[in-house]
Symmetry: C2
Subunit: 149 residues, 2 copies
DNA sequence: TATTGTTATACTCTATAACTATA
DNA sequence: TATAGTTATAGAGTATAACAATA
């Protein structure tokens, strides 16, 4: 019976939608957008880096990064520093405010994980994680197959 | 140990991200965007209706609906028909092309459900659906609590 | 000649406010 | 006076193409 599969997918789509909406509201309460948070997250992972690197990490155009960094500079989360050896490039660098807010967002994620999964046993948690991992792998596979066409 | 909860949330966020991206590419291959598909979906559910009703269903501003309908008219998925009794209002109505593409998207969802969950037993499927349902309820609760503040 | 990031232009989604036509 | 949908304006995310400065 494929009805149950469709019900599962509907439920998964609903969770996807709700989590996206929740994330958006949450970061908005910190004066950010999801795209800017993604940039900041990569910045924290990579350390201060060129816009070219951020464009590659985010898989968006260099022009788009210019706009995102513009916004983050205007709102005080990053600065553009001069590159020590390449005068064409800039080093996007988090400000103290930028680092602090990313720490807050990380804390918020831990809190959310507790609120969502606090009642689950380790075994249940492992089952859920494994299933989600399988789903993620399959989606990646499907997207690669579609892209190949 | 809260590490497992965080791992589960990370995995859930990854699935959310991947599914959103996949959906966007999929509807783009049909000449649509996710926002326009959502409008079409409500239109199929409600039948031909006023833009006011679509604004309520989508929880966006009336102005936004004007733009979405403009796009769908330009690309041939809906028409604006005159309301039989209220000359202020329009009746947004799917074209044949609009109805056909929605049927195709629905078929695509069934296919995706099979590809993602075809290997799962009924029992596994039930477990997954129940867990996702719990998560959805909790997210809704959290958003209501945040909104109340 | 190739690369870095910009300006120029355009499209989509989203919002509020003012306005028109109609109820 | 209230409602339906529009124009006006604005901001955010996204893209390509042309261009400047630099490597």
């Amino acid at each position: 019976m494929s009805n149950r599969r469709i019900a599962a997918l509907d439920q998964l789509m609903l969770v996807t939608h709700l989590l996206s909406a929740d994330l958006e509201r949450y970061v908005a309460s910190h004066g950010l957008t999801t795209s800017r948070v993604q940039l900041l997250w990569h910045l924290g992972r990579l350390g201060p880096c060129q816009q070219r690197d951020l464009a590659a990490a985010l898989e968006v155009s260099p022009r788009n990064v210019t706009g995102l960094v513009d916004g983050l500079v205007d709102t005080g989360f990053v600065t553009r520093e001069s590159h020590p050896t390449d005068r064409r490039a800039t080093l996007v660098t988090p400000t103290r405010k930028g680092s602090q807010v990313m720490q807050e967002l990380a804390d918020g994620q831990v809190e959310l994980a507790g609120q969502l999964f606090g009642e689950l046993s380790d075994r249940q948690l492992a089952t859920l994680t494994r299933m989600l991992c399988d789903i993620a792998q399959k989606v990646v596979l499907l997207m690669e197959q579609e892209a190949a066409r």
